[in-house]
Amino acid sequence: MAQKNIKVALIGNPNVGKTSVFNQLTGLNQQVGNYPGITVEKKQGFAKLSNDVRAKIIDLPGTYSLNASSIDENVVIELLLNKKDEDFPDVAVVVTEVENLKRNLLLFTQIKDLEIPAILVINMSDRMKLKGIELDIPFLEQELKTKIALVSSRKKIGIDTLKNLILNYEDLSIEPCLNSSSIDPEYFDKLRKTFPNQLLYKLWLVITQDVNFLNLERNEIKSAFTKSHSDLKRLQQKETIKRYQFINDTLKIGQKIDKSKASGIQAKLDRILTHKVFGYVIFFFILFAIFQSIFEWSTIPMDFIDESFAHFSNYAKTHLPVGKFTDLISEGIIPGIGGIVIFIPQIAFLFLFISVLEESGYMSRVVFLMDKIMRRFGLSGKSIVPLISGTACAIPAIMSARNIENWKERLITILVTPFTTCSARLPVYAIIISLIIPEEKVLGFLSLQGLALMLLYLIGFFMAIFSSWLLDKFLKLSCKTYFVVEMPSYKIPMFKNVAINVLEKTKAFVFGAGKIILALSVILWFLGSHGPTKDFDNAEQIVEKDILANNLVLEPSLIETKVNTYRLEHSYIGIIGKAIEPAIKPLGYDWKIGIAVVTSFAAREVFVGTLATIYSVGANDDEDDMQNTIKKRMQAEINPVTGEKVFNFATGISLLLFYAFAMQCISTLAIVKKETNSWKWPIIQLVVMSGFAYIVALIAYQILK
């Protein structure tokens, strides 16, 4: 039987629980994608309304009004103005919250002006009694010319009513609730006469802002009806006042609030959480707890994943038919996938904390606390979210910079975020620290290695702040700064929302960055296991000849290592490594480290894996756990010229500093390109950060050696 599809757009202010409503309507039947050309998240899902009718629900980004101030908000307007869009809704569901009804209704009246059938959802209705709010629903429905669904997404109340209203959307009135053109009748009359076939409010939106409007020549409208910026803004103000007048008049009759019941929980919590001293203490305590738990809790699953993949790789090697493709699977693809999967615990934990902080309303308080400090360095209080998320992965962090309205502050945030120590640097730091820093305790309880790691995190954060200060001085962008942050009421995070969010974000990481890492590990494996010359193919004979010539008696395993090393030197990757050796020698690296550094430009965590491949670990011993074996091999590496250890203190420090500063992540560069819409900024980032890293590593090595 043919199914009928109703297209529904879910619209609402931020912090009204729009996503909860979406989650309740669709369950797990949802998908997250991107709008073409921009990285705004596009969430859609399906809800079954009746046996043969299904609703396709699009969760549009939260917006305060149809006057957009960010790319996210632009998406909403562009969709609602474009009837030809395949997602153009049959019905708009405007989600509001019972406590902020007045403000939320502003957007509703604008949607009504677009003459799209609209349903009003009043969410968090379970809090009405508590807050002493009473609503006259029939009166409101009549005044607002709509149908209302009282919903509590938390208590799962009213969702069926809402589904029913969506099903019967054709009964809804499409009449606007007020006559907004009366703010300047003359102007709007002229407009109406010139474009008789167009909706007046649509024209007005096109005039006042920068949106694509397909079937109308924007310039034509603009040139005929342009007004000075401040005149337009004055009109917008008039429009807003007019809308509020209407809303106030309506709510005066339709809503009764018993003020005595208004509890002061938010005020009390705010007094503590934004306190001069306690505010910061609590914030740093929370941060500390987050880092501790990310590193403590994720070690167990990470070790487990690490071991499982090593076993799996071995299993594949021994059970599949011998051949090159089997090698590719067991040495290239399986470790490649392992290298992605191993980050899932850390990333999931970090997103868990971040989404709890955001859902609860605490993040806005942090923005409030940090704004003044951050502004000294050319950042915004809102930059704190990307900088914290950057410790997991710069990619989602850079995307979260989107709600910074000021372009300069946003650009600086995007540019400096990659300095924060992301989880991909962690395996590199861990192995090098374990090689060069002794396993000792300071003051009896602080581990020296732990302190070194903390220091590296601080260096990363300090560099981010310092470079934003520099950028602030040198970037000549005079932007009107404006900063308006809503302080939502505190809420206990809903498990379902947090869980879905963590799931989606983790999935995005695994399938986004993961594919790149996987592709690269295939290529790397190929370059490491193929060579252009006969020397590569005949490695075994050449090494054997060499051994015979020198009258050496060696264990078989040692011979194998020698063969592998010889082969590697003459593989494509070895040739590349040798070619770049002159450039990296002053930093204290040999060609093997060089290859690892170069391949790290795909993704930093490749470093350890590359060294593992290069030192041919896992070829002959399968019982030892991988980390230890790599470590032993690295420790045993001797520089053939000086006879010293390759991984000495100077080289180690030089490597650590290089990894702390260099821009070594193609995926991040790709995201920066997308977010800034130009190649200029990612290229600057790559050159400046990596150049700086080179110089610092050079100085460090030359001083310490």
């Binding site: 902020n100 007045k102 938010q266 934004t274 910061y280 003044k372 900063f483 942050v485 302080m487």
Partner: protein, 77 residues
């Protein structure tokens, strides 16, 4: 007496009279920062900026530079 919003003290209420339209983001107007509405200073950030207000039942933080552009009359208690 007409003063600007930054002169309001913590816990005090006032009525918005007017503002410099050029300097006020539209978003703030849409949140209810309009002439005639009431405004209360709830909290000042540790370094004196930003400021956290309750405007027309909406809880909003804005920077000092924006607050200066809004003129108000204090409510008598």
């Amino acid at each position: 007496m007409e003063i600007n919003l930054s002169q309001l003290k913590k816990g005090e209420r006032a009525t918005i009279i007017d503002f410099n339209i050029e300097e006020i983001p539209l978003k703030l107007l849409e949140m209810g920062c309009l002439p005639g509405n009431s405004i209360e200073l709830i909290q000042i950030a540790p370094l004196g900026d930003p400021l956290y207000y309750c405007i027309n039942d909406a809880h909003v933080a804005i920077r000092l530079e924006t607050a200066i552009e809004i003129s108000i009359i204090k409510e008598q208690i």
